[in-house]
């Protein structure tokens, strides 16, 4: 399983909605809204599923884009 840390950048006024939608996705843990527009998220998933997961995140209403800050794959090597 890979662990991916990322920020979800939300459209103005949509951060709460986006956080709730992210929290409802079983692979994701959220760590709060910051500066009114960033949701800190950690994903735990098979790395083969990460892209699909990120596409689902991008497709959520109110998501402007995402930025990855770290990816750990040490137990997949």
């Amino acid at each position: 399983m890979a662990i991916l840390g990322f920020l979800t950048h939300t459209v103005e006024g949509k951060s709460k909605e986006v956080e709730a939608a992210l929290a409802a996705m079983p692979e994701l843990s959220t760590y709060g809204i910051h500066q009114d527009c960033y949701v800190v998220v950690v994903a735990e998933a098979d790395s083969a599923d990460l892209e699909g997961l990120m596409s689902r995140v991008h497709a959520l209403d109110g998501v402007l884009t995402t930025y990855v800050t770290s990816l750990n794959v040490e137990d997949e090597q």
Binding site: M1, G5, C37, V42, L50, Y67, V68, T69
Partner: protein, 752 residues
């Protein structure tokens, strides 16, 4: 992995994400790898700093954004997925040759056999046909030391200026724009301008997908202040335009008219900076004749909003709005990329953007600057600055200038007269000359021309004809089909060297892991090959890449590219430094050409700005008329085809294609078509659609989407199974010789 270790890594991941936006770190934010090695992302010209986590077995296991580099700890998904690329099973790990010509199989051989095999062919070609019968074709992805070394080997060792590379296909027009307007290449601004700009003029750039981490900085700036305005000029409605205040759609290839029309409104409404114009500027027409300010005003006065509308399709009111927003903002930052550069009038388009900044004085202040975005991670530092193109020499010198040649000859310790005065073959001419048999052997390093050249059916003939020696990391590269000898090169963090990104920032990539199999650092390959091919070993007195850097660093001293202060030791400690940086205690430069900021402007210079790139210190505002693209849509070929990137693949996908999760996102190329056009042509999502141009025809699955405006279709170019460049013509910009990949006429129909 135990549960607690996973929890620990998860906590660290959250902490890193939070710290990237300046939040407090959680207690768990300790580093989980055994060591972290500093580097730069292998992909785009944003040049994000990375830290590669290596375990105690010497294996890379994690990656994170470098919090001390400009990206402040952030990466995009493809940058974060670089580790699996290193360990891809597709890696080439042993040298290979085709013993019996192009039709035979590549077979594995020893390094000695491969090097001798290639060296003999180059040596024989030089002996029989002279030095101009060989060439080097390099890359904006090669390390700086590699490009500097190859340039020296070919121009001073083999004595040919046939040194060019893929930056000719992406950045040459930006170089031409800076050189002709300011007298020296490279931007005056940096990414810090993003945090200070109050208006962004984004033209010909899908920043959101091509430079994702920069897009974040722009979006953050926009969200931080409601006064910040964003203008996006693009015939596609991309994710970038989601944050725009004004999205200007226009007929592809007509933006020169818009840029002149904006200049007209700026004068008409007295939005120009008269003081700046009178103090600093001069005016010139296309024939090189000096013109007056009044003549320039008269020239742009032809481009009334109505005339601009006629040419571009842009509403006349929109032209006025855009001009006002650009000129009235306290600080306007222009950002552009391939939509401007890959054009048959790319240099002119660059000049016209510079014109707007100059006539409004939107330059030399934080946030006010023209800043061209680079496509590749080291096109700026590695190729443009080292002069590794057919007409250039290091640090802004040109082969046509005897003084410049002599300076370099003296520095390299070769007799005067060694470097040839005639420009070598630029990229398109090089492949033409390979096809015609004039160039017998080419050394291709770190690039994939069989995928990226325009009018591929025509130019791959060059690769079929000439002897091809190639350094490559992945079997997937299309060019391997034509290679006679393949040298496995160490990949990215398997070796050490410098990358220089868009903003004049040089950062060191340190070696994190051992090279795969028998791969070797490219500087070793180049030196071994050159010695065997008869180049004097005295030209290459280096033990390693650090020695080459040392020579290059010292050569920059006293030039307008001065980065003498960037010692290897300093680059190891710091996460990138922006030149000019003339001494070891100099912090690097944000605002070029500005007194008190740029160390190359004398502290007591009489004016605040000094454009020292020009002999008279005055940038040129050009009178450049609108000219249509080489092949606009017409009755027979009624659509415009354009190409570009998608967010999860980079260039020809030889690297991103190794990562299953990125491959899954975009398994193949497609054609985007507007719903109105699709309806008329009875095309639905997924239908096979034929694009037929004057060169070839190909079938792509349809993506019906409002991203493209009516009359325009878009195909990404990453897919080697669907080489869209087969459809393109080979028209190049008259000055920069950069091909016009952005516009060609095509028929569009559903496969019957």
């Amino acid at each position: 992995m135990t549960l607690s270790r996973r929890d620990f890594i998860k906590g660290s991941a959250a902490a890193l994400a939070l710290s990237a936006i300046g939040g407090p770190c959680f207690a768990a934010a300790k580093e989980e790898a055994d060591k972290w090695v500093k580097g730069v992302c292998r992909y785009c010209g944003t040049g994000c700093g990375v830290l590669v986590g290596v375990n105690k077995d010497g294996r890379a296991v994690s990656i994170k954004g470098d919090p001390n580099n400009h990206n402040q700890g952030l990466l995009c998904l493809k940058g974060a997925m670089l580790i699996p690329v290193i360990y891809s099973t597709d890696r080439i790990t042993e040298p290979m040759i085709r013993k019996d010509g192009k039709k035979s199989e590549l077979t594995k051989v020893s390094w000695d056999v491969a090097l001798d095999f290639a060296a003999k062919r180059f040596k024989d070609a030089v002996a029989e046909y002279g030095p101009d019968s060989i060439a080097y074709y390099g890359s904006g992805q090669a390390l700086t030391e590699e490009s500097y070394l190859a340039n020296k080997i070919w121009k001073a060792g083999f004595r040919t200026n046939n040194v060019d590379g893929n930056p000719r296909l992406c950045m040459a027009s930006a170089v031409g724009g800076y050189m002709t307007t300011f007298g020296k290449d490279e931007p005056m601004g940096t990414y810090n301008d993003i945090d200070n700009a109050t208006c962004f003029f984004i033209i010909g750039s899908n920043t959101s997908e091509a430079h994702p981490v920069l897009f974040r900085r722009i979006a953050r700036r926009k969200q931080s202040s409601p006064d910040v305005k964003i203008i996006v000029v693009d015939p596609r409605r991309t994710n970038t335009s989601r944050i725009a205040d004004l999205h200007v759609f226009f007929k592809p290839g007509t933006d020169l008219a818009l840029l002149n029309g904006m200049a007209h409104i700026i004068f008409k409404e007295e939005l120009d900076d008269d003081r700046f114009i009178k103090r600093y500027l001069q005016f010139q027409d296309n024939e090189g004749n000096a013109r007056s300010l009044e003549e320039y005003k008269e020239f742009v006065a032809q481009y009334t909003p109505e005339k601009v509308h006629e040419i571009t399709g842009i509403d006349p009111d929109m032209v006025v709005k855009v001009a006002r927003m650009f000129a009235e903002s306290p600080a306007t930052l222009s950002l552009w990329c391939m939509g401007i550069n890959q054009r048959s009038r790319g240099v002119w388009a660059n000049n016209l953007i510079h014109n707007l900044h100059l006539i409004t004085g939107q330059i030399g202040r934080p946030g006010a600057s023209p800043l061209s975005l680079t496509g590749q991670p080291n096109a700026c530092g590695g190729v443009r600055d080292t002069g590794s193109l057919a007409h250039l020499l290091p640090a802004g010198r040109v082969v046509a200038n005897e003084k410049h040649r002599n300076e370099i000859e003296d520095y390299w310790g070769v007799p005067r007269g060694t470097i040839q005065p005639k420009m070598g073959h630029h990229t398109v001419a090089l492949f033409e000359n390979m096809a015609s048999g004039n160039v017998k052997a080419v050394f291709i390093h770190c690039t994939n021309p069989a995928h990226t050249l325009p009018h591929l059916n025509k130019y791959t003939k060059g690769l079929e004809t000439a002897f091809v020696a190639q350094t490559e990391c992945f079997h997937d590269a299309e060019t391997l089909k034509y290679a006679d000898v393949v040298f496995p090169a160490a990949f990215w963090c398997e070796t050490e060297g410098v990358y220089g990104c868009t903003e004049r920032r040089y950062s060191l990539i340190e070696q994190a892991v051992a090279p795969a199999g028998q791969s070797r650092p490219a500087v070793e390959i180049l030196m071994e090959f050159a010695k065997r091919a008869g180049v004097d070993p005295k030209l290459m007195p280096y033990k390693n890449s650090a020695d080459i850097w040392e020579e290059w660093r010292k050569l920059s001293q006293g030039t307008p590219y001065n980065f003498y202060g960037m010692t290897r030791e300093r680059l190891k400690k710091e996460s990138g430094i922006k030149w000019p940086c003339p001494s070891e205690d100099h912090p690097g430069t944000d605002l070029r050409y500005v007194r008190g900021e740029d160390p190359l402007v004398p502290v007591n210079h009489e004016t605040k700005m000094f454009f020292y790139g020009r002999p008279d210190g005055k940038p040129i505002v050009y009178l450049r008329p609108y000219q249509p693209p080489f092949e606009p849509a017409d009755d027979e070929y009624p659509f415009v085809l354009t190409t570009g990137r998608v967010i999860d693949h980079w260039h020809t996908a030889t690297m991103t294609g190794q990562v299953p999760e990125l491959r899954k996102a975009y398994p193949s190329a497609f054609v985007e078509i507007n719903p109105d056009d699709a309806k008329k042509l009875n095309i639905n999502n997924g239908d096979p659609v034929v694009l037929e141009t004057r060169r070839d025809k190909m079938t792509f699955p349809a993506r019906v989407t409002a991203t493209c405006m009516p009359g325009l279709v878009f195909c990404p170019f990453f897919d080697k199974k669907l080489l869209v460049n087969r459809l393109f013509h080979d028209a190049v910009d008259a000055a920069s010789k950069e091909p016009e990949y952005k516009i060609c006429a095509t028929k569009v129909y559903k496969q019957g």
